[in-house]
């Protein structure tokens, strides 16, 4: 439990969101409100639209019907709004997607310099402080290819945090990692949740969901089928498809 929830601020609002890939209906009438400081975990079978949902929140994918409002800004075709929202929303990918031609420090500094327009010194200080926070300051001058998967993912988290986002999206951040590296990444995410960050996390790590999530959302074939506190959702699933899903993974 993050315990910093501000129930006066619905920082993410989705109303009647629909999306199609060609004829394929991926997101069906998604309604979702997330409070500032809340940690929401999204679970569901492969292909149920989890990634697509969170990618719509920072316009990596475009929704075709319904409204998405992030921190009071309507997400539409207005590029100014999209830019403003991307500045508020950080994202961490399954495949890390670090920039291989830049050092760890360079990865964390680049967007600060050219998007936030910070001075070199300020960007460097922020970067080193964040690398310290995720526990890899001593790797600052290496290139991503020289790091382990867990270290790379922690750099990716630091890179996103360097933009001072108010919301962090995680798309299966530990799915590409060897088992012994999963914990180090989850620990960083737990610390982040405790610090009051609003987070939406797509993951198969049920332990993490039980420990950290304020709310768990179960998606199936493009719909939010059930949403509840982790204890209720895992111990007392109502929808038969959720019962079925939990039976398969637990």
């Amino acid at each position: 439990m993050s315990g910093h929830i501000n129930r006066n601020n619905r920082i993410i609002q989705c109303y009647g969101v629909n999306k199609w890939f060609g004829k394929f209906w991926v997101l069906k009438d998604i309604n979702l409100e997330v409070y500032e400081g809340e940690v929401v975990v999204v679970i569901g079978p492969s292909g149920s639209g989890k990634s697509t949902l969170i990618r719509c929140l920072n316009r990596l994918e475009e929704h075709q019907a319904g409204e998405i409002i992030i921190d009071g800004i309507l997400l539409d075709n207005n590029t100014r709004n999209v830019s403003a929202i991307r500045r508020e929303v950080g994202m961490v990918f399954q495949q890390f997607n670090l920039f291989p031609h830049r050092t760890v420090l360079g990865n964390v500094m680049l967007a600060q310099r050219i998007v936030r327009r910070r001075s070199k010194q300020e960007a460097m200080q922020t970067a080193l402080a964040l690398l310290d926070r995720v526990g890899i300051r001593d790797q600052a001058y290496k290139h991503p290819g020289q790091l382990s998967g867990g270290q790379q993912q922690r750099v990716a988290i630091a890179r996103a945090l360097a933009m001072n986002p108010r919301i962090m999206l995680f798309d299966e951040p530990t799915s590409a990692l060897d088992p012994e590296m999963i914990k180090e990444v989850l620990d960083v995410m737990k610390e982040l949740a405790r610090s009051g960050m609003t987070m939406i996390v797509v993951t198969h790590e049920m332990g993490f969901a039980k420990e950290v999530a304020d709310r768990v959302i179960f998606m199936d074939s493009g719909r939010i089928v059930e949403t509840n506190t982790p204890n209720e959702l895992f111990d007392n699933p109502k929808h038969p498809r959720l019962q079925n899903f939990l039976a398969q993974i637990l």
């Binding site: 075709n77 991307r86 990918f93 997607n97 933009m163």
Partner: protein
């Protein structure tokens, strides 16, 4: 020249302790493969040694033979033009190729709103002009292009009242049309390089709030160059050779001088031996330079 970041990295690399060999009773410990000096026989770049030795031999025989020396002296007068044309046209081709390669890599869709719509419509027109350019120029013999440029296009421009500061059959015309011809090739090289960059790189850049041009400048171009250095080097060497086509414009490059000298004394064998030596000195220096560049880029990242 070692930067601070480099020295830091080296120090980090040296700090890594070497794990002691694991020994299980009854099984003799694995011995490291003995490093014999024989390994250097396999690592040594023998072909470079061969070239250097033969090169020295040729230089000495040219210097010792008054006839060869004379040919060399007269042909060297053309090296200047050969190099000017090669470097000038290649620099132009790089700029054209990179620009058109980027345009061709991102075909625009309909834009949003009045401004976005207008910008994307202009981009659409540009996209098709660039595609037309690449497809047309790629399929044209370079000799045809040069002759057309020098004897048809430039005179036509002049007749239309354009005040050109150079003649039709000039080094400037040669550079412009060679650059256009090679630009079409390099465009495809760059496009292939750009397409080899994983989509996740662009998504990461977008999610960090970078604009399109920033993503291209800071993420796409640096990674593309690393991929395309070998084919670019290839085309640079081809350019040195193709610069000999400027003899069609009666420019006194190495090839044109060779034609003149051998045409007057019929000593084709000796003249063209020296010509081959001069071209190989330039192309081999070029390929060595490309190899070094490749090696540097490789060691910088992993």
């Amino acid at each position: 020249m070692v930067s601070e970041a480099d020295s830091q990295r080296m120090r980090l690399a040296e700090d890594v302790p070497i794990a002691p060999a694991l020994q299980i009773e009854g099984i003799p410990p694995a011995k490291p493969r003995p490093v014999t000096p024989f390994i250097y026989v396999y690592r040594f770049p023998w072909w470079i040694l061969f070239l250097v030795v033969v090169g020295i031999y040729i230089v000495l025989s040219i210097a010792g033979d008054p006839e060869y020396s004379e040919y060399f002296r007269r042909l060297s007068a053309g090296v200047n033009i050969t190099l000017q044309v090669s470097f000038g046209a290649y620099a132009g081709a790089l700029v054209i190729g990179l620009f058109t390669g980027i345009v061709r890599s991102y075909p625009p869709g309909p834009g949003q709103g009045l401004i976005g719509g207008t910008i994307n419509f202009i981009r659409l027109i540009l996209y098709h002009i660039v595609t037309l350019y690449v497809e047309l120029l790629r399929g044209m013999p370079i000799a045809t292009l040069l002759v057309f440029g020098a004897f048809a296009f430039m005179p036509a421009l002049r007749q239309a009242g354009v005040d050109l500061p150079f003649r039709g059959t000039s080094i400037e015309t040669a550079i412009i049309f060679l650059a256009l011809a090679y630009g079409a090739f390099l465009s495809e090289v760059f496009r292939a390089g750009i397409q080899s960059i994983p989509k996740g790189q662009l998504e990461a850049a977008r999610s960090l709030g970078m604009k399109g041009y920033q993503t291209i400048k800071y993420i796409v171009i640096p990674q593309t160059f690393k991929v395309v250095i070998p084919p670019l080097g290839n085309d640079f060497i081809a350019m040195i050779k193709d610069s000999s086509l400027v003899m069609l414009l009666a420019l006194n490059d190495v090839s044109q001088l060779a034609k003149k000298i051998s045409g007057s004394n019929f000593d084709y064998i000796d003249v063209y031996l020296v010509v081959a030596f001069i071209y190989l000195s330039m192309t081999l220096t070029g390929s060595l330079f490309v190899k070094i560049l490749e090696q540097r880029l490789k060691t910088k990242e992993r």
